[in-house]
Subunit: 400 residues, 4 copies
């Protein structure tokens, strides 16, 4: 019944979200030591979350004798070094997203943890939102048939920390910051074993005076024929727009994670109030708060799954290999944005083979039924195709 004692590396917003979750509700896990490059930020973090110790010594944090898990919540450019040190220390490691700045970097991290034989989880929170988990289970149960299309959208007015805007440190703009979420959400619905074959991406820098993109749209073609589509932006106005849509041969799923979740508030200017939700733009007028952000954003279920896997000796839902695949897709996005061509996803594929989307058509009196529609009077209208001639006709038949 004992929980985990954790070395937390990093004190940014993501470190706050993680620690809030780890210490939250009735949890048996605790952060034991926090590492920061800045002693002030480390001390503040320690106070804020009631942590026994803070340090500016990365090795000391990782090798702390009382911790069994290390969480890497550092800026992207520091992941590889930290992972290497944890691998050497032989502890379980959980790394924030994206895994690397490039697939090559991610591939080396994957190699490091596999060589060391340590447990390595990828902290892709948005795949773990309660809605996503339930929707993914419904898709796996066949509730919408074969998946044909997945749209994942993550846009907001731009990140909260200065370093996020510096592509030299992060690897890019919103593709790196937000697209990594979208790609893994798309994979979750299209199927983790469904190979992402090629990518077409368009990027532009429309609003912010930065060197990297602030807007991107990408298409991902999967082996089954399913299409992924993501839109990421640092120029959206109105809050944080996190929506996913999944189309299948027999159904549809729409998820809204943040702006329309059944919580609506109008507050007249000057009436009071304050913090509404992450990335909210205003504190008056119509507002759309989120009930429990750490739960709705997937942090709670993410750590539950990762720790259960660690304790059970199984693989977590999100592994370093997944992080590497995501980096490979992002690499293809950046290549495509530059070449303006469909670019192959260059990845060492471990996921097997997925057959083409299947849909055996219904037949009626020897012809193919293209479509069946309910008429106002309850009868059904069939659109029929004669396969020999290629001609189409319609027929109204009794309903039911």
């Amino acid at each position: 019944m004992d929980g985990h004692r954790i070395s937390m590396l990093g004190t940014g917003l993501i470190g706050d979200f993680y620690t809030n979750t780890l210490h939250g509700e009735r949890s048996r896990d605790r952060v034991r030591v926090v590492y920061s490059r800045s002693p002030e930020r480390g001390e503040a973090f320690k106070e804020r979350w009631d942590i026994p110790e803070s340090t500016t010594d990365l090795d000391a944090a990782i090798e702390h004798p009382e911790t069994d898990v290390v969480i890497v919540a550092l800026p992207n450019f520091l992941h590889e070094e930290a992972i290497a040190k944890v691998a050497k220390a032989g502890k379980a490691v959980l790394c924030t997203k994206p895994l690397g700045r490039t697939a090559a970097e991610a591939r080396r991290m994957l190699q490091a943890v596999e060589d060391a034989g340590i447990f390595a989880g990828y902290l892709e929170d948005l795949v773990y939102t309660p809605k996503t988990l339930k929707a993914a289970a419904a898709v796996e149960a066949g509730a919408i048939g074969d998946v044909t299309w997945v749209r994942s959208r993550e846009t907001h007015p731009g990140p909260h920390s200065a370093w996020f805007w510096d592509g030299r440190l992060t690897g890019g703009g919103p593709i790196i910051d937000l697209g990594c979420h979208c790609i893994e959400i798309i994979r979750t619905f299209a199927g983790k074993g469904n190979r992402p074959v090629e990518v077409m991406c368009h990027t532009d820098t429309l609003v912010h005076p930065i060197a990297d993109e602030d807007n991107a749209i990408a298409l991902i073609r999967f082996e089954s024929g399913a299409m992924g589509q993501f839109e990421v932006s640092w120029t959206f106005r109105g809050g944080m727009d996190l929506r996913d849509e999944v189309a299948g041969t027999h159904g549809t799923i729409w998820l809204n994670h943040f702006l329309r979740t059944g919580f609506e508030m109008f507050s007249a200017a000057g009436a009071g109030g304050g913090y509404v939700a992450e990335k909210a733009e205003t504190a008056a007028g119509w507002l759309f708060p989120v009930g429990d952000e750490v739960s709705e954003l997937g942090y709670v279920d993410m750590f539950t799954d990762q720790f259960a896997a660690l304790e059970g000796g199984t693989a977590p839902r999100e592994t370093f290999y997944d992080g590497y695949v995501v980096n490979a897709v992002m690499d293809a996005c950046y290549r495509s944005a530059k070449s303006r061509q469909w670019e192959p996803v260059d990845v060492e594929w471990r996921g097997g083979v997925t057959p083409r989307i299947s849909n055996e058509p219904e037949r009626y009196e020897g012809q193919v039924v293209i479509k069946r529609e309910i008429l106002p009077d309850g009868r059904h209208k069939l659109i029929l195709k004669d396969e020999a001639s290629g001609d189409f006709s319609d027929r109204v038949v009794a309903g039911g």
Copy 2:
């Protein structure tokens, strides 16, 4: 860092929800023994939730040497006896809702725990939904001004267990089953210290061939002038409709807990699928699942608050006294439904005094501003009242 070991009394749906929550995520609390009147149900429950022991001996369950908390998840008519035994055993007790079948019964339970000096929490989950907690905090921070009106609606097609339908065992129909939630939600927004003064209630048995009401509407007038309004029904079609609306002098809040929460799914008939959500009526067509039911329905935050209070030596958000007030309001509802009159809420009030809703009107050139409206051209239109003559006039002025 040690958690609690719990004696769970009862193996119905609510026991499942509680145990699912208690054992959920990274919890440090566990059910140690479960009591059921039926050995079969007790054993099944024990297996289902991986509990060390089941028993049909109520005293043995309550006095189990390894447990420190007893949870009463029994049908309403068994609460009083169980509470008395826990009081005698001197353990902390958490009791499901409603506390009693009547205020008199609840008052005796309150007395018992106060006489015994034990910790006693009231398991009113819907006051603890993440949305409700955040909305209540916004109201307390002044985001919508003074609360003028609260509507709480809880309707579905009827309960899942046979005993719920027998008013002899429960104390009544949906007022007892669902109204207890609504009343406490209304109190949460109107203010726990705002005395519920009187009640007007209409009930009818429209659809189900039962002796108790299957529909009820009630109005509750609070000391401040704020009005509560609840609608409860066992005849609603379309799933479980849980909505709250709060109006204030400076704002509005709308909460939808179940049917429209940003998760929408269409599943063609026969496509697969299955369980959608509690009280869902169909498994095909447009469906509205809920991400994480135990979280969205408040169970997670409820136990967190109750255990934090127990450990911290403070009062939980929901106490036996609150349960008693709820019973007193429900008693007034039943009296009013019968007398067809406004009936006073007969309660030993501990909540203090709440002043009348205040709204000091704006003035403009010596007159009272009744209203200020934005015109299409940006100017403002004022409705003015001359207090001497009682006459009204309007004036268009520059905006801003």
Copy 3:
């Protein structure tokens, strides 16, 4: 193919809405002359809507030789006089809502038009919204079974014209201003032939320093057992909230006419913009405009029905008798608010008799089926009642 030539009495906001509609789209009807008590307002209205003539002579407007229809769009206290004059002139008359300030006044107007034998239509626009018409047709077709409950809510921050606030001129506060809509919407769904038997109403003046109510809640019991419920307010914050909900033994209908209709806009402060929608409170932040207000508020379909009835020699959907019934219900509301009792609706009833809501229960092996529920595994759970003993039990059976 010729249209109507209209005498428009009144130049307020409602006159604008009517004339906008009458002249709108490809209409063949035109306002020929407008009457105003103020020559300035009359001239401005004439210019605004391209009308040939304006006058301050009420008789001249009504008796204008080229008009065949008179529309009464005057403040409430001027209706009776105007109707009497139109009756004398023998022209068709359409009167805005509410018909009278009291049922007695409305009864006299009804008498006047019946004695004169003229066509008389009641301009209750909200019963004619496209959504309401389609929903009413669905209810009549049996799509939701017998109606058990109707909620109609109309609230906003208060009227735009000064005279509306003066109960001496209008007859009251939001019950008169908004409740008249709600009552007729409720009757439309509960059934026009379903007698409103009695009323319970609560009113209060919470925010605005006026002599009449600024908030009211009312319950209306119909002969069938169906309950109507309306909430009206001049203190709502956030725009104009027009929603209706209908519950039936086999279904549910939810209508949102104004604030959530599939049009959502975020506009950063200072970005431009301006007029959003009637009663909108802000011009920045999240806004909820309405596509075509005159259509969405029912004005278009209202005049189509009224003129079709006039031309076809039939009764329109909304008659002076309906207006009289609405006034009778409002009278009962005001009586009840004062007496704090259920008050009978005192009306000369012409609508016939409506039987009690019927619901013949399903039977299973000799017992009454109280409820049938789908389980996660697809089987059905029945709640059964033994009529002899009054005992309840449950049984799980195969689904489908």
Copy 4:
């Protein structure tokens, strides 16, 4: 005040929608003669809509001595011939969408009407929905700043008439059927004068056994840098999904035209009911009807604009030139789907030049403000960029 007398060519669903609209409400316009290739369909249409005459003689219909306007509501492959005949007859012509099967065909039709000097309107209804018109006006007024991205989505389970499925007759699949709407909606928001420069399109045939695409996704890059994006499909499940999203530098617009418009109905299976809305898949469960389809789909405002332009001697909102531009974009889509490259839009451009999206950044103490964010405590957090070094930093300042 006289209306138009119309020759209606075609008796399919679109002819029904047009005639329903033309004869609707208080209209002064009437269809005088209907042409059909089939005498039975012609007679049935004549009876259905109370039209004086039907004919199978195309020339007779077009040259009918009492009509002044000809509406082409024929399958796509018959447009060119019909337009040529109307041009010869010298009457005003309104042509359904898409104008041609290819840009070349559309260009010839444009030439024909320009040579003949006749009024020629393009019946692109979805640009005329009340929501779209109001949203477009808001965009033009600057409410969301410069448009950066427009998404238009139109998907449903497939067309209702057999000929729609035969690409030999239509010119293609859903790009031709639905994409033509999306493209013009995108142009409406991006700006009619904003040149569509190039297109990237992906198509696939996933579900229906047809020769053309049943799914397509396309990106359109405009001269200003704004991106258009459309998704069209004949395999969507759940009804007809018509949504548009517009992002601007200072705001956001979301439109839902069909499935979520504030009208929600649950109808238990077997409760009654029937026709719900165009392309609805079920008649039980949760349903989402549309209030007034001909209004919500833009038909009413479309004919009002077209006839007002005809009468006023001005250009309508949608001209044959617009139809030609749409065909040019669709041609580029099909080329791109085949070449898998960005393809230029090959069009004779008449729309002028549009500058790049502008966004002059705010400055703070000599640095560029990348972003300004509200903190929970009301202060503002600025992300600053030093232009010399390219370094980013953040600064917390007083709010307001």
